[in-house]
Symmetry: C2
Subunit: 353 residues, 2 copies
């Protein structure tokens, strides 16, 4: 997998103008109808090349990350005369970077593309790793390819117009990366005041966080081994998300990951002696910023069931990534059901449930 | 691009059984409705794993190489429980190897696949080189990716049930490869009696021919330089094809390539002193096996126009691959219009038009 350029900047238009001058050729923007109205003009005002690009926009939302929108994008490229030398800029959240990346990877068997994530979650997560695709027939990301963008421009500039929930959701993935990276990275993240949203400081934290993911992905581009480390917090997190969805009371993905991280740190403490003081510090940060999930003892069997059916598992065992300390990763751990339930109990205590 | 396994055999079922035993896991067959009836049972009788595979079949013909059939294939894989460890076998002509390859390359971001071409044209051409895709919105191969099959099983066993025209069409691409390879390869091809269709001898010629293409593609997987050598015969050939199509009297692709090769060898003789004796031998083979196209002097301006608008060209010049001798390739040659027309005149003489 080739090495992609990742640029961290809050002068987005100027930076894009510079990249596009290098790439030459015709420029196409893919975004959703909201981004077209709210974000695109801010960028276009500082980039004549973006301002004069042909814009292909799709209806917003994960429910539109489908073959219909993908066909609209291919058609827009075709009608706009795009060829193998053209450049596509995907401006948006994960839906657009995934779907626009897939459109670019397949139009005429591959056109260059730049990702410009406009949400914290897509900046930290979806824009790096080369996963592109769409939902198909009721299944998420069922169809796609692995293809890294030629460049990713990451900015925190658009985040202060987002709901704080959205920012917190992305920040949970950053906490996860801090746990994978080590003590000082984690300290910096836990010291940050989410409610104040200092976007300049957030940009430097984000840079550190994206680089953690990048290093993991580079070691394991096709998700055979160490990339499983990125599942930290997600085994329990997905179960919490699925349960909430079943009860028609969905929770943001990042909230579930934040809570999942705490449960999995408890397990790490029980099984691998992850330091208790750090566990308590993370738990306090999560409780203060994300509150607590509505979980009771009688939900445990259902949660275990959801964990067991996660697509990462086989043979009825539940796969975890655990830590013996921040930065000390142990993939492919299989705690017993009773250990998982004990960890859930301790988690509920820590959250004050 | 990874190195794919290409196996030449007329014991197709047995060979597939051996490969599938290595690959393990669930097997899916993609084919068209005709192949399902006529070819699949012959293979299944010698391969229990093929016999028990889930079969996904689509309506035949290039007009069905579209997003609709592709969606049917994705849905078939999904409903059949295919996962990342499954194996897909594409059995058919170029439509199926292109479309099935694209489906496999994108389902769950990539599932292993085996190509089993059932026509000479797809064996010699479409099964090697990693081009996958579908037509979209009236344009051929508008959407796809470069992805080589994990294995290609090539056989001549199904060809004697094909119309002889189809075999001749594929054989023209083999002649082209012989010209690119050199004297002795070309001699063996010109000595073969197409009308007798000795499938065992054809298999060994086919092996030699596929290896020529494989070597060229390996040197230039993304078609930036020497792969243009494979366009020999196609600059003129496509123009003849387009003119015939415009007149509602379409000619097989390979016939156009055979004639195109002769015109381009005449040009090669004029410009690069390609040996006259070999030119005459090729011309005689083409005349005897393919007859002559219905071309008059007054068609010349239109033919030049078609050549000029070929997607390989830019700046109004017409790009040719020429030869100074069999095996001595010169890409990116731009003869003057008058030279092309003189070559057309000589070609018509050689064909007895």
């Amino acid at each position: 997998m080739k090495h992609q350029d990742i640029i961290f900047t809050n002068s987005v238009g100027e930076e894009l103008e510079r990249i596009l001058a290098e790439f030459g050729d015709k420029v196409y923007v893919i975004c959703d109808d909201n981004t077209k109205t709210c974000v695109l003009p801010l960028i276009a005002s500082a980039s004549p090349r973006v301002a004069s690009a042909r814009v292909i926009s799709t209806p917003p939302g994960d429910e539109n990350k489908n073959i219909r929108s993908l066909s609209m994008i291919w058609e827009g490229l075709q009608n706009g005369g795009a060829d193998r030398h053209s450049v596509i800029i995907n401006i948006g959240g994960g839906v657009i970077t995934d779907m626009g990346g897939f459109a670019a990877a397949t139009f005429k068997r591959g056109v260059r593309f730049i990702n410009l994530p406009t949400t914290l979650l897509s900046a930290v997560d979806a824009a790096v790793g080369g996963k592109t695709g769409i939902n198909f027939n009721g299944f998420k990301n069922e169809v796609g390819v692995f293809k890294e963008a030629d460049a990713v421009v990451i900015s925190t500039r658009f985040f202060d117009t987002l709901p704080l929930d959205e920012v917190k959701s992305g920040y949970a993935e950053m906490i996860k990366h801090g746990l994978l990276e080590g003590n000082s990275a984690l300290d910096r993240l836990l010291d940050y005041k989410l409610n104040e949203l200092d976007v300049t400081r957030l940009l430097s934290l984000l840079e550190e966080s994206v680089n953690v993911k990048r290093r993991v992905v580079e070691q394991d581009p096709f998700e055979k081994g160490i990339r499983k480390a990125l599942n930290l917090g997600h085994t329990v997190g997905h179960a919490l998300e699925s349960l909430a969805l079943e009860r028609k009371n969905p929770i943001p993905h990042g909230y579930a990951v934040a809570w999942g991280c705490v449960v999995e740190l408890v397990l790490s403490h029980m099984i691998l002696e992850f330091p208790s003081a750090i566990l308590h510090r993370v738990a306090a940060f999560v409780r203060d910023n994300y509150g607590a999930p509505a979980i009771e003892c009688r939900d445990y069997p259902k949660l275990l069931e959801y964990m067991r059916h996660d697509k990462k598992n086989s043979g009825g065992r539940i796969n975890f990534t655990l830590l013996s300390a921040p930065g000390k990763i142990e993939i492919d751990r299989y705690p017993a059901d009773e250990e998982i339930l004990t960890a859930m109990d301790i988690f509920r205590d820590l959250m004050g449930i």
